[in-house]
């Protein structure tokens, strides 16, 4: 079942460390290139201790491409692109906050200095401009020496005194204080008799004064910046080297347009000797397309590619013991809900970057045995495609359980529609006079009776709308945490009886509101980890919470405390194989037939958690379904445990229970979106 198209998120765009676990917080904030061309949504991936923390997404904008991103002044995130603007992002509100025109045409690169006080941008017109990072924005400081030819890449000297700028066929070193280029700009000759131009895609300036350049001929070259002479040249690839990152002055990682990454290290020529040379040590091939961004972490090499994968490759020599840290990790999918389901009407709503698709599920009249594919008596039906107007990408969307309401939100607009299904035809009617509120809506959620709509909003607030027949909408109330909150709400869970609403904000606090009297009910005890999914049990009103470190909690809303089962889980501990999974739980639902069943899913599995069964200990097999199926009925009893895991559907985008014996699963075949990616070998994008 894969009509849904996940949004393609090419390249890891920014990597920051959120939690100062190892004292390395923001020690080396990375700056990595984003895609040239139309803007894509990009995500901030906290990599605290390599936990698979769900990414927070800042929705993209068709007109604003992001070519370069960097952290400055602490954890402020700036982006610059071919639109020529420098944009600061509001990380709590997950939106573009302020934009400043760079004044030099399309911006190809942007880097912050080591203290994060200045930004340098490289522009199409060949200028390098310095901006001062000030509270509340940035301020243009001055222009550095301008030469002909676009500046494709920049790098600050660790002492912030010089900047090296890479262009086509040459690079130059600029003295920041004087603003002049060093006398010798170094032409980079094309190898052999090649008439093609040599594009310097990435450059770095080491404290020793060595310039490292990576070019379109697949070379990584080391230059003396004063003499402009070539010291060493390594041809690492037959195709272009696109990205480069330096760590500790002795480790370089480069990414090529063939999807390979190479690790270069400065090693002594002789053991114990003083003379050192750069040696290409580790080649990796984890990507199928361009590797646009590379970074170091203390124990791993991180690369992001056009194939929408983020790969964390641990450096074995830096990993102390063979543990979970020593495992290669790949992240492909957004840990977000992009599909919503109208259970009663059996509709699925798919959210794409600029449109929504509403489908009616097919049905069958047959039954069968495990694994059988049943003949369809009604084919699935594509009811309607709803295009969002304007360049902004869709932020969130939802369809009501009865299937007659549909809402979506972009960064600046919130739209509500009434869906009329009459026979075969479907008509959408926009609900007029939707109450004005401060967009964007981070999450939309209809109540179980489809009579109200909850809108997750900035500053921890949740708006409650009453839906009126035949097609109206009234703002009822705004729920806010009593203590206030700066971060936006990103997860909502209403209870089936319409009594409670749980909301998770960016600071990971879970607030519970009483909807009968619109009052704040309580806060779930703080657990220092991102919440990846929440849901309220329809009969017990217990809130089930999945954290990104794979812990599961059950919190009784009426009693305002964790349930005894939750305490048991915490004291017993979850199975190790469960805790070591990579992808977080993204959706929780319940089985109306059996109140002890909790249904969970992540990208690679769906799990029926049966609270009535004993928890598995580490010695037991966690994924035991296939074993159980081979056992006779009588022998199964002893092998049963609470986690009933099915890995049949992968990668899993969405799962929900339609009724007591009908489960809908949306798969997203990787091959499907890979075929939509550009060709993997680097092609000339501009030039004469």
């Amino acid at each position: 079942m894969g009509w849904s198209r996940a949004r393609v998120i090419p390249g890891a765009t920014a990597i920051r460390r959120v939690r100062p676990v190892l004292g390395l917080c923001r020690a080396s904030p990375g700056l990595y290139r984003a895609l040239p061309g139309p803007a894509r949504p990009y995500r901030v991936v906290p990599v605290p201790r390599c936990d698979p923390v769900p990414a927070q997404v800042i929705p993209g904008h068709e007109a604003r491409s992001v070519e370069s991103l960097c952290w400055a002044a602490g954890d402020r995130l700036f982006g610059a692109g071919l639109g020529g603007d420098i944009t600061e992002y509001d990380l709590s509100g997950l939106s573009a906050a302020r934009g400043v025109d760079g004044g030099g045409g399309p911006i190809w690169s942007m880097v912050a200095n080591s203290t994060g006080t200045q930004l340098a941008i490289g522009c199409e017109d060949g200028s390098v401009k310095i901006f001062q990072v000030v509270p509340g924005g940035i301020q243009f400081e001055r222009n550095l020496d301008r030469r002909k030819g676009r500046v494709l890449c920049l790098s600050w000297h660790p002492s912030d005194t010089h900047i090296v700028a890479g262009s086509i066929d040459f690079f130059r070193v600029i003295d920041v204080t004087s603003g002049t280029s060093c006398p010798r700009s170094s032409p980079i000759p094309s190898p052999g008799t090649a008439k093609r131009e040599c594009v310097v895609w990435a450059i770095a300036l080491l404290s020793s004064g060595t310039v490292v350049s990576a070019d379109s001929f697949g070379r990584v070259q080391f230059w003396d910046w004063e003499q402009g002479t070539l010291a060493e040249s390594h041809t690492v690839s037959t195709s272009a080297v696109l990205s480069l990152a330096v760590a500790q002055e002795d480790s370089i990682i480069v990414g090529t347009s063939t999807g390979a990454t190479y690790h270069l290290q400065l090693l002594p020529v002789r053991l114990g000797g003083l003379e050192k040379r750069w040696v290409r040590t580790k080649p990796f091939q984890f990507h199928s397309h361009d590797v646009r961004a590379v970074a170091h972490s203390p124990t791993a090499l991180i690369s992001g590619g056009l194939d929408a994968q983020l790969v964390i490759r641990p450096l074995m020599e830096k990993v102390q013991k063979k543990s979970y840290d020593a495992v290669l990790r790949k992240f492909t999918f957004p840990h977000r809900r992009l599909v919503s389901c109208a259970r009663k009407a059996r509709l699925l709503l798919f959210q794409f970057s600029q449109y929504l698709e509403l489908w009616r599920l097919g049905s069958t009249e047959e039954t069968g045995k495990d694994g059988e594919v049943l003949p369809l008596c009604r084919m699935p039906e594509h009811l309607v495609q709803l295009k969002s107007k304007g360049p902004e990408h869709i932020y969130s969307s939802c369809v009501s359980p009865c299937g007659t309401w549909l809402g979506y939100s972009t960064a600046s607009r919130f739209q509500l529609y009434r869906v009329h299904c009459d026979g075969d035809g479907v008509s959408l009617r926009k609900v007029p006079k939707v109450p004005k509120l401060l967009p964007p809506a981070y999450q939309l959620q209809f109540s179980a009776d489809s009579e109200s709509l909850f809108v997750a909003s900035a500053r921890g607030s949740v708006h409650v709308f009453q839906l009126l027949e035949p097609g109206g909408c009234k703002h009822l109330h705004t729920l806010r945490p009593p203590s206030g909150c700066s971060e936006a709400v990103y997860l909502l869970a209403p209870s089936a009886d319409g009594h409670w609403l749980a909301a998770v904000s960016g600071d990971w606090a879970i607030h519970i509101y009483n909807l009968k009297c619109f009052k704040h009910h309580c806060v779930v005890p703080t657990y220092d980890c991102a919440v990846s999914a929440i849901a309220i049990h329809p009969s017990t009103n217990n809130l089930v919470i999945a954290y990104s470190d794979q812990q599961l909690f059950e919190f009784s809303i009426p009693e305002k405390q964790y349930t005894s089962w939750s305490r048991t889980v915490q004291s017993r501990g979850l199975h190790r194989a469960w805790l070591e999974r990579d992808s977080p739980i993204t959706h929780i639902t319940f089985n109306p037939k059996n109140p002890s069943h909790i249904l969970l899913h992540d990208t690679y599995l769906l799990c029926v958690l049966d609270k009535s069964l004993p928890l598995p200990d580490d010695s037991a097999l966690l994924m035991n379904q296939s074993t159980l199926k081979q056992l006779p009925e009588t022998a199964r009893k002893r092998q049963l445990h609470a986690f009933k895991i099915c890995k049949k559907f992968q990668p899993l985008l969405f799962m929900d229970l339609l009724d007591k014996n009908c489960l809908v699963v949306v798969e997203r075949p990787i091959m499907d979106f890979k075929t939509q990616l550009p060709l993997p070998v680097q092609q000339k994008k501009f030039g004469t």
Binding site: G2, G362, D370, G371, L374, Q625, P669
Partner: protein, 627 residues
């Protein structure tokens, strides 16, 4: 079988016994001596059953198949007179015979078998003797019916005396034409008589073996499919047995372990491998040879006995040593006509070894046809007759060598090489007169070299040969071109070489021998292999037509092996140069061709995979069971 479906039929007369026959259904013998087949009886259960034997009481009955006809024999007793009836229910014929009286002794037990239209009835008499009665099964019934009560004469077959004591037999069965088994009791002075099962050799009148049955028996003994069934104490005991060919050595007990009755040892007998049999036979042979001088006294007797049937192995082996060709041939024909038993195989191995020994001693002696026939009809192996191929090589018996190469699974590489060398060195003219099996080569070797002109013009699949060669990127000079196209060896030689290609070998052991192959022969062989390779490549499935024709793998393996062994020589030889370069070009073209095919295969796979992916994208409703 469903016993529930049984139904009852009430008959009008008492039944004595029902006999079942393998193909003849069931025969019902009534107390009155009448016989009906079960089918007839069930059609009309109440039919009238005649009484044939008035006051006689049936003592024993047996049913047999003679051809397609069931034959029922039963014996009756009346006033110490015994009668034998032979009935053929299908022909409605009945013969009544009277048994010759034997003093005061009376028969205790009967058994019968039919051979060559003659019923052999064995009777165990109370005087502890076994008598044999022969009853002919005549076809011309009419005349005979006139006679009443033909009296049957009997002959003494065996006296059941064991070193003075007399076995009181209670039942007997016939095992084969020389052996019977008797269950009886041996009186021991002062003690209870002990019961035992005994096997007797009737030819040599000896007790072959016996087994004590201390728990007592019911006095009954049955025998089916080489197993005895008897009641020993409270249990039914099953004893397996096996009858060896009766031989004097066996009869006088010189044959070790050949006829033990112990159950466990018999189990071993069944699992014995052929090789072990060979060992036992070889030891037996040596025993026989050693006994030769000592047995001279009895030799007269043994020849007398030998005339009646085939010789025992020991005797045969002795005879092979010096008999004339004709005698040897007839004896072996007899031996080979016997039904196949596991030991026969080993016997033949011994025989062949004896023959080859004689060949070695006397080069004039070489029973070619006989050896060929043995190799052809029996699954021999090299190790069973190690000298055979050496003798054949010496005698230049190419046909026998070819057969051995094709059939033996375990020829040493040295011999394989010797054969190859012999085949390569023999002249084509000589081969023309030799009879070899051409099946493997006749289908593809061009017999007439003149055909070549015609052949080149034939378009195969739209491409002429020339075009093919262009594709191979080779411009073969006219003279060497014939190398690739016509067979470098004659049909006979090709067939012989194919036999070599067919034989099993280990590279490591063959390689050192191949190095010794004379250069000219090596080139010739390589030429032939190249020819085969080209022929193979012409076909889509890369197989040559014909029976036992070499496979492409065999050809390639030999080619590599030969090049490995002879490469330095080949490189130096001017006449090998063209061959090598052609070979190189051809192989290169083949490699290119296959790599292209591989690419196509890969592309097709990918297409298939994409198709599959597309399929999996579709919407489906599946049943998912979560336990």
């Amino acid at each position: 079988m469903n016993l529930d479906k049984a139904f009852k039929a009430t008959l009008s007369a008492d039944v004595y016994r029902i006999h079942s026959l393998p193909q003849g259904g069931a025969l019902v013998l009534f107390r009155g001596g009448a016989v009906r087949t079960l089918d007839v009886l069930l059609e009309a259960p109440q039919q009238e059953i005649e009484n044939l034997i008035s006051a006689e009481a049936i003592r024993w009955s047996g049913a047999f198949m003679e051809g397609q006809q069931p034959v029922l024999i039963f014996t009756t007793e009346k006033d110490r007179n015994f009668f034998v009836y032979v009935q053929k229910p299908k022909l409605c014929s009945l013969h009544k015979y009277k048994l010759e009286q034997q003093g005061s002794a009376k028969p205790l037990c009967f058994t019968a078998h039919i051979t060559n239209q003659t019923v052999t009835l064995l009777c165990l008499y109370s005087n502890n003797s076994v008598y044999q009665v022969l009853i002919p099964l005549q076809q011309n019934t009419e005349e005979e019916e006139e006679k009443e009560e033909e009296i049957l004469s009997k002959s003494l077959l065996l006296n059941l005396s064991v070193s003075g004591a007399v076995l009181k037999g209670t039942s007997l069965v016939v095992l084969d034409k020389d052996h019977i088994a008797v269950l009886g009791s041996l009186p021991e002075p002062g003690k209870k008589p002990k019961e035992c099962l005994t096997i007797w050799n009737t030819k040599f009148q000896t007790l072959q073996t016996s087994k004590e049955l201390p728990l007592g028996t019911s006095g009954q003994l049955w025998c089916y499919e080489e197993k005895f069934f008897l009641i020993h104490g409270k249990v039914l005991t099953v004893i397996m047995y096996k009858c060896e060919t009766s031989s004097l050595a066996a009869a006088v007990g010189k044959l070790k372990d050949s006829q033990t009755l112990d159950v466990s040892s018999f189990v071993n007998w069944n699992t014995l491998e052929d090789e072990e049999l060979v060992v036992s036979f070889q030891s037996q042979e040596s025993v026989a040879l050693k006994a030769e001088s000592r047995m001279s006294l009895r030799s007269n007797r043994s020849t007398v006995a030998g005339q009646s049937g085939p010789l025992s192995v020991g005797q045969l082996l002795l005879r092979l040593k010096d008999s004339s060709n004709y005698v040897v041939e007839t004896e072996l024909k007899k031996l080979m006509a016997k039904a196949p038993t596991p030991d026969l195989q080993a016997t033949i191995g011994c025989v062949v070894t004896a023959l080859t020994d004689r060949c070695k001693r006397n080069p004039k002696f070489y029973p070619q046809n006989l050896l060929q026939e043995i190799v052809e009809t029996r699954d021999l192996s090299y190790s069973l007759c190690p000298d055979l191929m050496a003798v054949a090589l010496e005698q230049k018996d190419l046909h026998l060598l070819q057969m051995c190469l094709e059939r033996f699974p375990d020829i040493p590489e040295e011999i394989t090489y010797a054969c190859l060398k012999a085949f390569l060195s023999v002249s084509e003219d000589h081969l023309k007169s030799v009879d070899v099996n051409l099946d493997s080569a006749i289908c593809y070797v061009d017999v007439e070299l003149n055909d070549m002109e015609v052949k080149t013009e034939i378009l195969e699949n739209g491409f002429s040969e020339e075009m093919d060669q262009d594709m191979c990127d080779t411009k073969i000079p006219q003279e060497s071109r014939s190398v690739g196209e016509s067979c470098p060896v004659g049909l006979q030689k090709a067939a012989l070489l194919n036999a070599v290609l067919h034989s099993a070998y280990t590279e490591t052991f063959l390689l050192p021998h191949l190095k010794n192959l004379p250069a000219q022969q090596a080139v010739l062989f390589l030429r032939y292999l190249y020819y085969l390779y080209v022929k193979c490549s012409e076909k889509v499935n890369t197989t040559l037509p014909g029976i036992r024709s070499p496979t492409i793998n065999q050809i390639m393996d030999w080619m590599c092996l030969l090049l490995d062994a002879q490469f330095t020589v080949m490189v130096m030889l001017p006449e090998a140069k063209d061959l090598l370069s052609n070979l190189h070009k051809f192989v290169r073209a083949q490699v290119r061709f296959y790599s292209e095919l591989n690419k196509i295969e890969g592309s097709l796979r990918e297409l298939q995979r994409l198709n599959h992916l597309r399929e999996s994208q579709t919407y489906s409703i599946e049943v998912l069971e979560i336990i």
